[in-house]
Amino acid sequence: MTPELGQLALILALLLALAQGVLPLIGAWRGNRALMATARPAAAGQAVFVAIAFGILVWAFVHFDFSVRYVADNSNLALPWYYRVAAVWGAHEGSLLLWILILNAWTVALAAFSHKLPEVFAARVLAVMGLVAVGFLVFILFTSDPFGRLLPMPVDGADLNPVLQDPGMTFHPPVLYMGYVGFSVAFAFSIAGLLGAEMEQAWVRWARPWTNAAWGFLTAGIVAGSWWAYAELGWGGWWFWDPVENASFMPWLVGLALIHAQAVTEKRGSLRAWTILLSIFAFSLSLLGTFLVRSGVLTSVHAFAADPRRGVFILAFLTIVVGGSLLLYALRAPKVAGGKPFNVLSRETVLLIGNLLFAVASAMVLLGTLFPLIGDALNLGKISVGPPYFGFLFPLLMLPVVLLMPFGPYLRWGKGEAAPLKGLLLRITVAAVACAIIAAFFVDGRLKAAVGVAAAVWIAAGTLLFAYKRWREAPRGRRYPAELAGMLLAHLGMAVFVAGVLLSETLSVTSDVRMAPGQVQHIGGYDFRFDGAHRTTGPNWTADQGVVVVTRDGNKVGTMLPQKRTYLRGQVQTESAIDAGFSRDLYVALGEPMNAGNIQGAWSLRLYYKPFIRWIWGGGLLMMLGGFTAAADKRFRIKRSADEVARTDGLLAQEARA
């Protein structure tokens, strides 16, 4: 009976979402306060019912209710409780429900904190959020019901995809969705602004922390996904330019552009149309990400479901949301370039260049991701562009970004001065070149690694010099407001990231070997001794576990236990052993037993020495922290001024007369 209640809750949530999406819009249009006031209660009610539905699904998983098809497909009696909870979003239907739940959480937060916004505007913003929710609720109810029954009820279920049975994967989808859905706030603001044919600077200021927070979550989600791919897939790579990875990377890039564009629009009033367009794109790409992963249009290692009916629905939804927004943009976007003028040498220019590069990079990733599809369409046969395309073009586009990064903070708004830039240029050039030369000795003169060090030092030195300048010049207590501190953290994160990528890519050592017990392999200054493999068991798997003792110059570094697990349903999954460190990771994956002739107990093993790879995720986490810190700035919490109230009242009176 309970699962049907879940379905009922979703239907009620859909009705409330319809009310939230339609009534306030009519209210804002007709100047009816009562209708506008329905937005908040409707949003709260919708959130309650979605939470009930979600809770019922969790309950079904925790209590092994295999009469629910989704539960039976994705869990079994032996699955530990934490993975049973995570199994809720382990496949299509449940992850869609999670999407909706998170959308509701953001909407409720928005409803709670938007009391200071002009009434008409807040009503429109909440209505747009409601309309987005309508689309997703219709989608889940008509094509992807998580509460469908399975009769007769099986005694035991199948299994959660073993690839997903990992802590990294438990957190990855919710955090990623927080990011995706978070961009709906900036989107709703822009649509509301277009509907009202006005884009006030104050409203952009109000949207900024939401965008920063969403981008922070998205960063965290991507980092978790990358870490999971590294630890779980057993290839030792951290990014594969896979369509699904790209699907989350495109909104990230556009979100990055949006954060900076919003700063310009809020402080100077310029780039308004561009900011609106970027917020539409950021959310559209989030929807597109969902589309690409769910519809089976592109095949990928991550693909969950290939159901054409779902694909058609998402495409229709995407067409309405994105097409409608862009149509609105075409009709209502600010016609004249507003805001204060700026010189060629100014912070605006640097931010604009960065913005364009991020947008182009995002388009480049989109093109590469869709290329196989274009190949099919033009009958060119199966084509996949893969890492060579991305690996060449992406760094090329990011090079100017890296070069410009230190100068942005140094330039003034409107009209910058050249003199301080020369001093900065001299200092960071000297720092970068000196560090690169020193590093060259340690990396045997490998150019790419030295370039990596130079680029990282270039960014870091510029950022730290700016921090020092603030320390010297700004009065105590106002040196590092949260917004500025967030920027510094994120830029430092970029430096750490760049160093991690280039150093680990160049200096990594990989070795595929067959090892008999007692054999030693020497890699990257470490000795890996294979001590054989034995059987071991976990809650829902059995495994061959290899024992590899690592020593360096005779001193023991650690014992690594790579596993090759066989789950209950027969799926095989490698579980790499990783010895993590600040300056290097050691990584061992167990391959196949390779008995030959008179040698018994030999296995094929994959050994990696990966210097500085942890810096990649460390940099990502710093960027995330930067996003969150900037979002916390007090300046963004606007007060509703008396004249704004008066203006709203006037507007209402005017519309009531009309």
Binding site: G296, G311, V312, L318, L373, I374, G591
Partner: protein, 180 residues
Amino acid sequence: MSRSLPLFGFLLLVALFGFGIWWNTRHDPNEVPSPLINKPAPAFVLPLLDDPAQTVSKAGLLGKPYLLNVFASWCFACGEEHPTLMAEGSQLGVMLIGYDYKDAPDDAKNWLREHGNPYRMVVADRPGRTAIDFGVYGAPESFLIDAKGVIRYKHIGPITPEVIAKELKPAIAALQKESP
């Protein structure tokens, strides 16, 4: 006008996605057909692994169908495939030729000594240039080439007993029907 550009760009994307959905309902998305199938195999001249002084060419192999199996001692998945080839390679009904890909000859010889040699002969392509003509993505890959030197079937990834039963055997049977 310029404000409508994003809309038009997006509509183009929608058309592309609509096409993608339509296409996927009609095709198996996991199949990667080789453009070389039913085309003549590229001409090649490669040395034998055991005796580099002797070479094998496409022309020399004409007249009988054969299965060209790309492998390498460094290749992980080839180790997975190898027991299957050892067990079933001799019962395929066509000659099994090994194609040692980007490999040091001594490593390859050791590897074959350790795991057994299922091949009638092994050709070596150390620089991997001929493999480019064949469109090799990576090892293991297998090409079924008929008596006229035309590629009839291609398999990417390890050959499993299932692949042999479901794909390779029917393809070989089709060859044998043609040339009595």
